[in-house]
């Protein structure tokens, strides 16, 4: 029993994915962002294998400018700045991936349920989403972290996810609502497809595109917010993330003392992370919105 529709969609989907990847890398923005991002990841992984210092340990004399032993110099505690950077990148990425994944999956599920089932559940969930979007994030995070006092990195990630799921949820909900009403769902129904098939083959690929664009944006947002919270002094004190580096930099007034290697490096790395993620996001976004393609 082969419905003609089923075999058509299998080929179509494979072609979709291949075509999609090709389109993606044809976007200059995405490719540029990807290159920068990949370089940072490689720098961090390869670097940590080569440079062995414990980022939290005092390994040498403090406030030394970059030299052959400490490639990025040392900070006011005598810690190797290079190790801090390498380790910090990894931590930021882990947090970003965690937050994005939770947000996207949880948010999409909630949004989908809200859209597909509609009615009272839909409206109730909708209000919750709106509230989460309205509450200004930084003060709320500050409040929570101050209450909780002992902040672990994973806890930070959880808190960040708490605020981030509303956006994908809302988007998925409105997409579901609009797709429910659209004609091609009816066509699929007529051609005999099961409900769940409609779900996964028609609706999901549509949303997949938007979700990937948002996933990257969420990563950006997570790293940004995490760094902001840490700079304020609410971060994990026993770990050296990029944000914590900046916290110590401010605490020890590194800018005034011309300890340039200590404060330029985390800022430079963070900016590279932000720019690369943003470029990738824009590239993905353009793919999703064909109207923007080829627009300069």
């Amino acid at each position: 029993m082969s419905r003609p529709w089923t075999s058509i969609r299998k080929n179509a989907r494979a072609r979709q994915i291949m075509g999609g990847l090709r389109d993606l890398f044809s976007s200059r923005e995405f490719t540029a962002g990807f290159i920068i991002f990949a370089s940072l990841v490689m720098f961090s992984t390869v670097g940590s294998a080569l440079v062995g210092y414990d980022p939290m340990a005092s390994v040498g004399p403090p406030n030394i400018a970059p030299n052959s032993q400490y490639l990025f110099g040392t900070d006011s505690f005598g810690r190797d700045v290079m190790s801090q950077i390498l380790h910090g990148i990894q931590l930021s990425l882990i947090v970003a991936l965690l937050v994005s994944t939770v947000d996207t999956f949880f948010g999409s599920t909630v949004g989908f349920v809200a859209g597909y089932y509609g009615g009272l559940i839909g409206s109730a969930l909708g209000i919750i989403m709106d509230v989460m979007l309205v509450v200004p994030i930084l003060p709320a995070i500050v409040l929570i972290t101050v209450t909780v006092r002992k902040v672990e990195l994973w806890l930070m990630a959880m808190i960040l996810s708490l605020f981030g799921w509303a956006a994908p949820a809302r988007q998925v909900r409105s997409q579901t609502l609009s797709l429910k009403a659209r004609e091609f769902i009816d066509v699929a129904k007529i051609s005999g497809a099961r409900r769940s098939e409609i779900l996964f083959v028609e609706i999901v690929p549509h949303m997949l595109q938007w979700m990937s664009a948002h996933y990257v944006y969420d990563m950006l947002w997570a790293i940004l917010t995490e760094a902001s919270v840490e700079v304020l002094g609410l971060g994990p004190q026993h770990m050296m993330t990029l944000g914590m580096m900046l916290f110590w930099v401010i605490r020890k007034a590194a800018m005034y003392r011309n300890l340039w290697w200590w404060w330029i490096t985390p800022i430079a790395v963070l900016i590279c992370l932000f720019v690369s993620l943003y470029l990738m996001h824009r590239g993905l976004d353009r793919m999703v919105n064909p109207r923007l393609r080829g627009r300069r």
Binding site: I127, D130, V131, V134, V135, P136, I137, L138, P139, A140, V142, L143, I144, V146, T147, V148, L220, L224, A227, S228, V231, L232, G233, L234, L246, V249, I250, M255, Y256, N258, W260, W263, I267, L270, I271, F274, V275, L277, Y278, L279, R282, R291, L292, R295, R296
Partner: protein, 339 residues
Amino acid sequence: MVRFGRVHKYFVKRIILFFIIMLIAIFINFMIPRLTPGNPIVTVIGMLLRQGSRFENIDEIIDTYERMFGLKGSLPEQFVRYLTEIFRGNLGYSIRYFPVKVSVLIGRSLPFTIFLLGLSTVISWVVGTIIGLLAGWKSESNLSKAFSYVALVLNVIPYYMLALVLIYVFAYLIPIFPLTGAYKGSLGMNWANIEFIKSLLWHSILPSMSIIITSLGWWFLSIRSLVVDLKGEDFITLSEAKGLKENYIMWRYAFRNSLLPQVTMLALSLGGIVNGALLTEMIFSYPGLGLLLFESISTADYTVIQGITLIITLSVGFATFIIDIMYPLIDPRITYEES
């Protein structure tokens, strides 16, 4: 008028939504401290004592706190009490600076934040929008494209990072601008004194620069893309056919049509701008809410932190609500249907 009924309903609906959302936000603010085991204020004071701070009237503090924000009575009762106090404008007392009221501390810092934020946002929005309009209109030119790349990078840099760079440049390399404070302390807050006003402006240059330069990117990019899209529209073509001058078309047709989305963008970004400004203040020791927040975090002045988050939530929510209401009034195309 048949239309009035719909308009009426829209406003009422929006107001109700606003209150619901605000209520929930206040509730969250209220609930969070109660999620921790034990009496938060006792914990905090205990911690401060251990750190060596000295308090008089510890019992008085705890008692006042419990009375106003009390953990006595059932949860709904507590919430109602909390709400009533807030409506009375009473946000409690600062733990650190007891018996100074939280509202007083906030009242002292808020004007500076509003000044800095307001000034920076207006300047960056205006400048970014105008440059973006021109860049969008002449989007083929290399200059326009170059600006876009720059704006892309500026867009993602947080305000405080630029602040750090500016500090380095102007503290270590070229010490011109003042790095801390809102005005020269010796002058005192006298609005009649022209020296005070000059000092106020002078001191705000670096902090506002960090905000302006980085947020410029966002305004620039958003209106540029709006204008680029707009350029292909039929009514632009017809306006050319009409023999209208290019500048006229750019302002009257392109600008007018992209203004409204650009204003909405302002409304939507308010939350983010506030967040960024807070951190910038902290770095420049600018005596606004940001610095207050930072200090209260370091001293675990819990009531102040709560008060600040509440104020920020309420003001951002309120501002967004106002713009939500005003938007249909400005745009002739919007009907009062729910989108």
